[in-house]
């Protein structure tokens, strides 16, 4: 009888299959994952992949030819414009589907569905900020516009056409490893993606930290710690510019002094935030300053660095226009780039358009709230958050109407960013909740032929507000600090505001004809680097306190000096590592150091600092010493003042300390209040170096004194899988350098466009065209980006179909 062994072996086989097909016994379904015909091996793209294809889709109305070049950049030639967006959607999905979906899940507060409970706080935070609410409002606005609606529809059906081709084996690698499947795309997802950019670029605020600082320090000290104006500011729109007469007059509430500006209430809320250095550089020089006589436009947006990259390079050629540049996987059109007539780019406006109001509910049921002396009814939005491997989490968020705007009560007793002990209610008024149609801008810019087309296009941009640079082949240059900005009174929105009556609400928007801009200025260039847009002394509206100013300072100084500029000069400027802030600080550090008090180790680092050229180049040690010194110096100066400060109290900006000392070497906070004697600047500088030496010796011992080693710039995979990331890149730069390459943040796309008769264009981004970690195109640009090299951008013509750069042709038709 062989029945017993048969049953035994059958049970073993079945058990083996179950174990290898699920996560029940093993951490991963190894059979499924390793099957050469289904699993991860299917994502090992042959080095010599032929991407050629002949595809037919009913949604197309004409023929589309796509030529993929040797960097895998698609050159799309379509007879019908919307067909081009269909194909763009198809290609975005083909090369970046997992990333597109992940970004949208993160934006809409659905990350828990993929990664489980650890993302629940993130999901609640994003939903409570009203991300989905905002995306729904924006979608309505987009779909009212027939041009944008059909553009989005075509894009969405292109993405879905690709998703439909997917089989178990062709699923992108990350879906297999994490174990889930893609959903259908929708226009709402495109809208959500755009709101994610709004969050990243226009979601920043320090209202709670500033509220705590205000409550802790007296007014005089507060103003010294957080000055509204920086001395070294060279604004985007130069000082002395005459603005349109003021038409909106925001009225300071009569009770502002007592209940707001001098109120000493402490607010304990600490939430996750977009990177405060989300910034960028852009500039355009007119023909009078260039060697060729044609304008040159440059842009490098600084954003979080990830793999797959935020950007996807593309050429779209349709009868109405021919555009090249980078696109967002998730949205149609070219976002930053150029066409046959002009070039365009963006830096972040960085103004505070997200403010908090303290709400007074009748009771904890949150059914009614007090406003202008009445009890008003709340609306609720019930969010069901699905969690991988756990029951759903149901969150109810109250929405209150403040004036004419419904605002989510983001923080309440059940949620305050996960780190609060507070029991108050805070509603958020965020500009990104307002209806607007941002895709319109890119659609119109792609079509733009001249300055008036540009103006008409960008005035559609409400949020996130951007400094939009522009240049044409006909010789125009322009830059507009575009956005729909609340007209604020001085100090409005710096702190949490009372939400019980309309007096503290935004009272209107700055009229579009009062938005500062420059068009063919005499100095021969326009530029922006996230510094304050205008000089406070002459512009009537309040613009907030915190703007980075040193990159702009360096760029303007250099552009003023430069003549006969070539595209190569501009590339060198984009990767320049000079630290203007350090150069201003170094003289007083050197002059005040008590050298006699230093031991041998401290002397060694002091000598390195003294001989440093204030450049954060690869291999320099001075930048590491300065960074470490400055950190200790800030602690030496301020820590004693902050000993008793509430948790999450705002710390002064780099520029505050630097500029106060340049003005007054007896800066009040230098004295350590916990000691008997009165410390001087020399004491503080020397103490700081001694403290820094302890840290520097550790860094030195680990062999990381070189700036690039110490900084260790890396580009993380979006799911933070280390083998799919690029670590320890040899690249200089830093926060105050034009080359703002920081640890995991920096120039996400560098572009230089010379608008000569035949456009000369260069660009590079830290990633690769394919989002597949198993493809050689996954990170193929990273090393060249780190080395400061550029690729020549090829605006292909229909006559060049035989060019040797072409790798493959994909034909799309009905």
């Amino acid at each position: 009888m062989r029945i017993v062994p048969f049953i035994a072996s059958a049970v073993i086989s079945t058990g083996l299959i179950v174990a290898l097909n699920t996560n029940l016994l093993l951490p991963a379904p190894l059979g499924k994952l390793l099957s050469p015909q289904h699993g991860v091996w299917q994502n090992a793209e042959p080095a010599a992949t032929d991407y050629s294809a002949n595809l037919k889709f009913d949604n197309l109305s004409g023929k589309v030819d796509v030529y993929l070049d040797d960097r895998l950049v698609p050159h799309i030639f379509a007879e019908q414009e919307n067909d081009a967006y269909f194909v763009q959607g198809f290609l975005h999905a083909k090369f970046r589907l997992w990333q597109m979906e992940l970004q949208v899940f993160a934006a809409g507060g659905r990350a828990s569905e993929i990664v489980g409970e650890k993302a629940l706080d993130h999901d609640r935070e994003f939903r409570r900020l009203g991300m989905v609410f905002a995306a729904e409002i924006a979608l309505q606005e987009m779909e009212k516009d027939p041009v944008i609606k059909s553009q989005c529809d075509a894009y969405t059906s292109g993405v879905n056409a690709f998703i439909e081709t997917l089989t178990e084996s062709s699923l992108p690698l990350e879906y297999k490893l994490i174990g889930y499947k893609p959903e259908k795309w929708s226009n709402l997802k495109t809208s959500l993606f755009l709101k994610y950019m709004s969050y990243d670029l226009a979601g920043g605020e320090d209202d709670f930290e500033m509220t705590n600082a205000k409550s802790f320090f007296n007014t005089e000290d507060f103003n010294k710690l957080f000055p509204a104006l920086q001395d070294s500011l060279d604004p985007i729109i130069p000082k002395g510019t005459i603005f349109e007469p003021q038409k909106v007059f925001p009225v300071v509430p009569q009770i502002a002094d007592s209940v707001y500006l001098n109120n000493r209430d402490v607010a304990f809320v600490q939430s996750s935030k977009p990177d405060r250095d989300n910034g960028s550089n852009n500039w355009a020089v007119s023909g009078s300053k260039t060697k060729s006589g044609a304008p040159i436009l440059c842009n490098d947006p600084h954003l979080g660095l990830n793999l797959p990259s935020l950007w996807y390079e593309i050429q779209i050629s349709v009868p109405a226009f021919n555009a090249y540049g980078v696109s967002f996987p998730g949205a149609p059109g070219v976002i930053i780039g150029y066409n046959d007539s002009c070039a365009f780019g963006f830096t972040n406006g960085g103004r505070d358009v997200r403010d908090y109001y303290e709400i007074n509910f009748k009771d904890d049921n949150r059914q009614e709230y007090s406003f202008n002396g009445e009890w008003l009814k709340t609306k609720f939005r019930i969010d069901t958050i699905k969690i991988k491997g756990k029951p759903d989490f149901v969150d109810s968020v109250a929405y209150v109407k403040l004036g004419s705007d419904w605002c989510p009560v983001m923080y309440d007793k059940s949620f305050s960013g996960g780190r609060s002990t507070n029991n108050k209610y805070y509603a958020v008024r965020w500009k990104a909740h307002d209806a607007s149609n941002e895709l319109r801008i890119f659609n119109m810019l792609n079509h733009a032929k001249n300055y008036s087309d540009y103006s008409a296009a960008i005035t559609n941009l409400h949020t996130p507000g951007q400094n939009c640079v522009f240049a044409t082949k006909s010789g125009d240059i322009a830059l507009r600090t575009q956005g729909e900005w609340p007209a604020k009174w001085k100090g409005q929105g710096d702190f949490v505001m009372p939400g019980t009556d309309s007096s503290f609400l935004w009272q209107g928007m700055i009229p579009q004809d009062e938005v500062p801009y420059q068009y063919n200025p005499e100095r021969g260039f326009v530029s922006s680097a996230n510094q304050k847009p205008v000089d406070d002394a002459t512009y009537p509206y309040y613009l907030g306190r915190d703007y980075p100013e040193y990159r702009g300072f360096t760029i303007n100084k250099r552009l003023i000096e430069m003549t006969a500029i070539t595209p190569q000069d501009m590339m060198a400027l984009q990767v320049d590592n000079f630290d203007a802030g350090a150069a201003m600080a170094k003289p007083f550090i050197v002059a005040n150091m008590n050298e006699a008090d230093l031991n041998a180790a401290e002397k060694k680092y002091f000598e390195i600092l003294k001989s440093w050229n204030c450049r954060n180049d690869v291999g320099t040690t001075g930048a590491t010493v300065f960074a470490s010194f400055w950190k200790s110096f800030e602690e030496t100066v301020y820590d004693d003042e902050y000993v008793n400060a509430p948790k999450h109290t705002m710390r002064p900006f780099f520029s505050s300390l630097l500029e106060e000392i340049l003005k007054d070497s007896a800066y009040k906070f230098i004295d350590n209040v916990s000691t008997e004697q009165t410390e001087t600047l020399a004491d503080a500088v020397t103490t700081a170096l001694k403290k820094a030496t302890v840290e520097l010796q550790k860094i030195d011992a680990a062999g990381n004194l070189n700036w690039d080693k110490n900084k260790a710039t890396h580009i993380n995979h979006l799911a933070k899988l280390a083998p799919f990331s690029r670590m320890n890149l040899p690249i200089g730069g830093g926060v105050r350098n034009i080359n703002a390459s920081k640890v995991d943040h920096g120039p996400s796309w560098r572009m230089v466009i010379s608008l000569t008769a035949e456009t000369e264009a260069y660009g590079v981004y830290p990633g690769g065209q394919s989002g597949n970690p198993g493809s050689k195109y996954y990170d193929s640009f990273v090393d060249d980006w780190a080395a400061g090299k550029y690729y020549s951008l090829w605006m292909m013509t229909k006559e060049q179909t035989g060019d040797k750069r072409i790798l493959a042709k994909m034909s799309f038709s009905k």
């Binding site: 015909q37 289904h38 091996w41 080095a47 690698l173 799919f724």
Partner: protein
């Protein structure tokens, strides 16, 4: 002779099934071959084990080699916590071989139990 035919048939059938069906149909392939071509249980196990070891090992090596091992370098770190494409290929071959082997063993026992 039976070994050679079983070996070739198991590999071919497994490859063919996996073109259209889930990965675990290699077990069905190995099982069917073991039922159709009677071999001693130990030999049946070994035949399918070697057939799947060579099929899965060979396929993954061929794919990985064409890919310059880009994916295997990365995925071996994710799955096996070590950077070694060949260990990933070996793991693949073993997974296939074990499943195929035990399925063939079951098939062989079924066949021999029927004969009794």
């Amino acid at each position: 002779m039976k070994f050679t035919i079983s070996f070739i048939l198991t590999a071919l059938l497994s490859f063919g099934f996996c073109l259209f069906m889930p990965w675990w149909t290699i077990a069905i392939a190995a099982f069917i071959v073991a039922v159709l071509i009677p071999q001693k249980p130990g030999k049946a196990f070994l035949t399918a084990f070697i057939a799947l070891f060579i099929l899965w090992g060979g396929l993954s090596f061929w794919i990985s080699n064409n890919n310059d091992h880009i994916l295997a370098h990365k995925v071996s770190q994710v799955i096996l916590q070590m950077d070694n494409p060949y260990v990933l290929i070996l793991a693949t071959a073993l997974v296939g071989a074990l499943v195929g082997g035990f399925a063939a063993l079951s098939g062989s026992y079924l066949r021999s139990s029927k004969q009794k």
